[in-house]
């Protein structure tokens, strides 16, 4: 249960962040990714191919054609305008969020984000 004074400050922090150009651009870019069916299909095709690639690598059945196909798909995903926009917006918002985390961490005496983040799934 969050203490009320902490909650009030959290609300103010969220209000300021949500009003920033970086967070707004990131939210828009995230929504664009979710709306772009062509990009989502390409991205899931690339993920499927990457899994097959790893299993072929493990079996020793990887061919030059597999490598070329994987390279081409990877390039198509990374240079897709929706992805380019998303990555740029994410990088910009990360800069702002990391500065905020540093400001919080130096006051608390430990890294806020590392301690508050959900446990990593391995």
């Amino acid at each position: 249960m969050i203490e009320i004074t902490v909650q009030e400050s959290a609300d103010e922090f969220v209000r300021v962040l949500a009003a920033s150009a970086a967070v707004r651009a990131f939210q828009e870019a995230k929504a664009s990714v979710a709306r772009d069916e062509e990009f989502l299909a390409l991205s899931s095709q690339q993920a499927r191919m990457a899994a097959q690639f790893r299993s072929k690598q493990f079996d020793g059945t990887l061919t030059q054609e597999d490598i070329s196909k994987q390279r081409m798909l990877y390039k198509q995903v990374t240079t897709h305008p929706t992805n380019v926009r998303y990555v740029a917006a994410r990088d910009e918002v990360l800069e702002l969020l990391q500065s905020c985390n540093e400001a919080m961490s130096s006051l608390l005496g430990f890294d806020f984000a590392s301690n508050a983040a959900p446990a990593a799934a391995c």
Partner: protein, 134 residues
């Protein structure tokens, strides 16, 4: 001109965000859970008997790990590790500091869940320093 105005607005928002982040951290630092964490940690660091026990436990653990890395097992060391661990976790100042640490972690995760629900992205997960898995 338009770009200069935008940059000014961005740096003003950036400053406001930093101030809001600092204000939030100050409120966390004033909370009962954080104060208990600080007091319990200070008490543990200042408790000579608990520190001695903690060092003995760490050293026995390290010895056990070294034996394991050489592929050998030593029942005596394993028993010593278990005995010291049992003594340590029932030591009042250690027990208090661990409980306070766990309570603080729960509170931080709750705060992050709150921020995440409002922002629509996981603040801590996105922001934490990159690191190896497990």
């Amino acid at each position: 001109m338009q770009h200069a105005k935008q940059t000014q607005a961005d740096s003003a928002t950036g400053r406001a965000a930093l101030q809001a982040a600092q204000a939030l951290a100050r409120k966390v630092a004033e909370s009962g859970i954080y104060k208990e964490f600080e007091e319990a940690s200070t008490a543990f660091r200042g408790d000579a008997a608990a520190q001695k026990l903690y060092r003995a436990y760490q050293s026995a653990q390290q010895e056990g790990r070294m034996m394991q890395s050489w592929g050998s097992r030593n029942k005596g060391i394993e028993e010593r590790v278990q005995r010291l661990e049992k003594e340590l976790i029932s030591h009042p100042t250690y027990e208090r500091s661990i409980a306070a640490q766990e309570d603080l972690l729960v509170a931080l995760k709750e705060l992050n869940d709150y921020l995440t629900a409002k922002l629509g992205f996981d603040f801590a997960d996105m922001t934490k320093p990159a690191g190896g898995c497990c």
